[in-house]
Amino acid sequence: MLEIALILIVITSITAIQTRYLRQAVLYLGLFSMAISFVYLMYGAPDVALAEAIIGSTLSTILFIVALQKYKIYTIYYALQADELEENGQLSIHKQQLIKTLEKFCTKQELEAQIIYSTEPLEHIIAQHQYALILVEKNDVITIYAHPENYKFDSLKQFLEIEAHPRYHYEFLKVEEDIL
């Protein structure tokens, strides 16, 4: 029984190091501190377990989250039709590959990608939400709308010219302030 908890500790610590998203690493560390606190309890040290539970699950989580605020987040909206989501919530292979390419770009530029699938119309997204990029797909042409203050846009253009997609073509547009 104790051995299972020890194996869980090894698995969670390796996963927390290997994951690509820092927000998920914080959650893995929460599970890690839960498990190690249980191990302390089983070894007969409840006072150490109490301190580990307080520090590990609350204080370090809050400190990590506050530190993550300094890390930039790149919000990408993907405008879909309502019936385009297939069963199990999975997208088709081509769309998954497109998203993988964008995530690779964000990792290279030291940004954290946050991808949101939306069924709202384009004007509504532009008016209502905070965004960096909006992707709209029509007849194998992906139109990429960028925010007026998006200073990574030129490097994104260069990156996408090198990493061409087998099916889609790209078209770049900058949103003017007048549309708002």
Binding site: L85, E87, Q90, I116
Partner: protein, 94 residues
């Protein structure tokens, strides 16, 4: 004897909740099933422990933990699902 039966009943409820988080493909359904069934199992198991130990300082403390968790468990689930809804997370149909 009665206490043991109630404890195993609570374990059965918790087991159903764990099946639920693997059985359903939609996130919102998963959240509903897991939180509700889990809370019921929690109450049943703690009542079994109280029946087994009788009325003393131990069972009073367990009752305090039960009342706190009863307040906190739905709040946490509500907060997580609200965060998913506002962020625009879409899941498959069920």
């Amino acid at each position: 004897m009665i206490g043991t039966i109630i404890i195993y009943l609570g374990l059965a409820f918790v087991f159903i909740g764990v099946i639920g988080i693997y059985r359903f493909k939609n996130f919102y359904t998963r959240a509903l099933v897991a939180s509700k069934v889990d809370t019921v199992g929690y109450i049943t198991l703690i009542i079994g422990i109280i029946v087994k130990s009788g009325l003393n300082a131990f069972s009073l403390k367990v009752l305090l933990i039960l009342s706190i968790s009863l307040l906190i468990n739905p709040l946490v689930t509500h907060s997580v699902v609200r965060s998913a809804k506002i962020s625009g997370y879409k899941s498959g149909k069920e």
